[in-house]
């Protein structure tokens, strides 16, 4: 069992972005998340890695309620996720997510992709929403593509739009679910550059990724998962230089040649 956790005091509360305590989840009979304990502080950058099927994606999908956990507690920005729909809505408004497959809306232009949620969730006017969208599209360096449809863009461009779309909601936390895994090698860098900038600006980030260079550069801590549980957490330098757990060593030896 993990280290026992004390309930955060109000002072700490404001510093904690995400708190997962004793979280378990099952898919049918399959025990997919086991005893997850993880506290993410504000402005902290966490990279989660591990072999496929180890539960990384499920873990971050629990944070914005795309998957529901069955035991333990998850607190996002001071709101505990329960079965109550309102708690989910509250959490989702402050948590942005970027998917492996981009999941842009193919029937909307790039601009419309970015303005949909601000208009319908935040109640912004179309003009305001478009201004905000253009701001973020400039930040991900594709303002000139705003009137194109997603299928007209390259994979890297699509993923940058997806990031801009999430940012348009002014989230406090960003979740990245293997954002570069579906990209051709030459496009990975343009996406990672945007993510690095975001990290430098102080965004709280949880990133599921196998990009070890990215982890070294921006991560405050690296989380290694295997078999549905957290095996090791450490700062990136320690993690890569002196992995402590046998499984971590094995994993690193396989992916770092």
């Amino acid at each position: 069992m993990n280290v026992a956790m004390s309930t955060p005091t109000p002072a700490e509360h404001t510093l904690v972005a995400v708190e997962m305590a004793g979280v378990h989840k099952w898919f049918g009979q399959f025990h997919v998340l086991k005893d997850i304990n993880l506290t993410v502080m504000r402005k902290e950058r966490i990279v989660i890695c591990g072999p496929s099927g180890s539960g990384k994606s499920t873990l971050i999908r629990c944070i914005n309620g795309l998957e529901q956990h069955q035991r333990g507690r998850i607190v996002v920005n001071g709101t505990e996720l329960t079965r109550d729909v309102r708690s989910l809505d509250a959490a989702r408004r402050d948590v942005g997510m970027v998917f492996q497959q981009f999941n842009l809306f193919p029937h909307l232009t790039v601009l419309e992709n970015c303005t949909l949620a601000p208009i319908w969730v935040r109640g912004l006017s179309k003009a305001e929403a478009e201004m905000r969208a253009m701001h973020y599209l400039e930040r991900v360096r594709i303002p000139e593509q705003s009137y194109k449809y997603p299928s007209q863009l390259s994979g890297g461009q699509q993923q940058r739009v997806a990031i801009a779309r999430a940012l348009c909601m002014n989230p406090k936390i960003m979740l990245f679910d293997e954002p570069t895994s579906a990209l051709d090698p030459e496009m990975i860098k343009e996406v990672l550059d945007v993510m690095i900038e975001l990290a430098q600006e102080g965004m709280t980030m949880l990133v599921v990724s196998h990009e070890m260079g990215f982890a070294r550069e921006v991560a405050d801590r690296v989380v290694f998962m295997d078999d549905g549980q957290i095996v090791e957490i450490n700062g990136p330098d320690e993690f890569f230089a002196r992995p402590r757990h046998e499984r971590t060593k094995l994993f690193l030896s396989q992916i770092l040649r």
Partner: protein, 454 residues
């Protein structure tokens, strides 16, 4: 403050999922009453069920008349009049097929079931032989059994030119005529010679061409012999056929004829030869663009005008031709769907092995494509099965036609006769169509699973 670093010392065990308060029952309850709108929908649904189900059960079972022999027994009850169905059962199933000869349709149905069952079960062996029996032998046997055979064929292709043969019109005493069979032999020789000449012209193998033509003609000869021989069966005119028997005959004939025809049309539609392609497109789109009822009218009123004056078809045969052509066009589109889903790689691989067009199609492409479209074929058959009811518009009495006709019988005129007849027909149609649709679904899932596995 929590620890910044962590190393797991003991691995967490796999545990069974918790028996939460969120059981199936509570999820069910939540799905019904979670929101006011949901609650309203639940109330609405319960209302509809309450409106439909109890009267239906009362009519079919509780208030129904189960025994009796005449309409008087049914007048007392408000429910279904099952004695009516019992009294008319033979008519519903066979029409006016003579009672003494009903063992023949029974035999046909039994053969059909025996051949079809192993064909439908994916694991059953001998598929090829089985399919050959069902699509090749069974129709001929059924034809002889149902009509009585002994067609008394008069002349074949060259009959016009071989006038002398009709003089020697005496038969062998077993239902065959000299005239026809000499005509057939002459025609066969002429055709084989033509084929050989064509093969020589194209520098193809003369031997192979002659063998192929000879086999086709031999097959044709055997079929003609079977329908021409006198087996001593009393002839039964198609006019007296009816009921479910006709429903099955129309549907099964439609599918048996339309499958090979549909395959050829689908191949033709994908052919690189423009004349072949456009001929097939025209044929397919024509039949798909018109309602079946116009096709039946076409077959009934127009087909006789297309044929030489001394050739007459009976009504059922005309309808069968119409249905078969109509079904073939739809079948072609189903098969085309299958052909399109076979990747180019398969074509290229087959071509790389040096296979010609027909071998490539027959050995590589069609087996895969047809396996893929089995659900489509079954769904086509369901449509055809339902469409057979349309023959009642051209005065052929299938199951629905017989039931409708039985409403006019004054001996069974009761307030519930109408509903009873519809209930009986409805149950039969539903059981067959629903059963087949479930089968199609089962094959579809099985194919999908197989596809994933490979």
């Amino acid at each position: 403050m929590t620890t910044r670093t962590f190393v797991r010392t003991a691995f967490a065990p796999n545990e069974p999922p918790p028996l939460e308060a969120d059981s199936t029952a509570s999820r069910f309850a939540r799905s019904l009453f979670a929101t006011p709108a949901n609650f309203a929908l639940t109330v609405l649904s319960v209302g509809i069920v309450a409106l439909v189900l109890p009267p239906l059960i009362r009519f079919l079972f509780l208030d129904a008349t189960w025994s009796g022999t005449s309409r008087d027994d049914c007048l007392a009850n408000a429910g279904a009049c099952w004695p009516f169905v019992r009294a008319k059962f033979g008519q519903f199933i066979y029409g006016f097929y003579p009672a003494a000869e009903r063992w023949r349709p029974n035999l046909v149905l039994a053969f059909g079931a025996l051949l079809l069952a192993p064909l439908l079960i994916p694991a059953a062996p001998f598929k090829r032989t089985n399919a050959l029996l069902f699509f090749g032998v069974y129709p001929v046997v059924s034809f002889v059994l149902l009509t009585g055979g002994n067609l008394d064929l008069q002349k074949f292709l060259l009959g016009r030119f071989l006038q002398w043969t009709t003089v020697a019109g005496v038969g062998f005493g077993i239902g065959l005529r000299w005239a026809f069979w000499t005509d057939f032999l002459f025609s066969a020789v002429v055709i084989v010679a033509l084929v050989a000449a064509l093969a020589a012209l194209l520098r193809a193998s003369v031997f192979a061409a002659v063998t192929a033509a000879g086999m086709v003609l031999a097959g044709l000869g055997i079929i003609l012999l079977a329908v021409d021989l006198d087996f001593g069966l009393a002839p039964v005119e198609t006019r007296s056929w009816g009921g479910f028997l006709v429903t099955l005959i129309v549907a099964v004939t439609g599918i048996v004829v339309s499958l090979p025809l549909g395959v050829l049309l689908a191949l033709g539609r994908r052919s690189r030869m423009p004349a072949v392609r456009y001929a097939c497109i025209l044929f397919i789109e024509f039949w798909r663009g018109v309602p079946l009822i116009t096709v039946l009218f076409f077959a009934t009123y127009m087909l006789p005008l297309f044929l030489p004056r001394d050739v007459t078809f009976d009504t059922l045969l005309r309808a069968l031709i119409g249905v078969a052509l109509f079904a073939a066009a739809y079948m072609a589109e189903v098969v085309r769907g299958g052909l399109q889903s076979i990747s180019r790689g398969q074509h290229e691989a087959a071509a790389a092995l040096g296979l010609g067009y027909w071998r490539m199609m027959g050995l590589i492409i069609l087996p895969q494509a047809l396996t893929l479209v089995i659900p489509g074929i079954v769904n086509n058959f369901i449509g055809l099965f339902k469409d057979t009811t349309l023959v009642l518009i051209v005065a052929i009495f299938d199951l629905l036609g017989q039931i409708r006709a039985s409403f006019a019988d004054p001996n069974w005129a009761t307030p519930v006769t109408l509903y009873t007849g519809f209930a009986f027909a409805g149950v039969i149609y539903f059981v067959f169509c629903f059963g087949m649709s479930r089968y199609a679904l089962y094959i579809e899932r099985r194919t999908a699973a197989y596809g994933r596995g490979s």
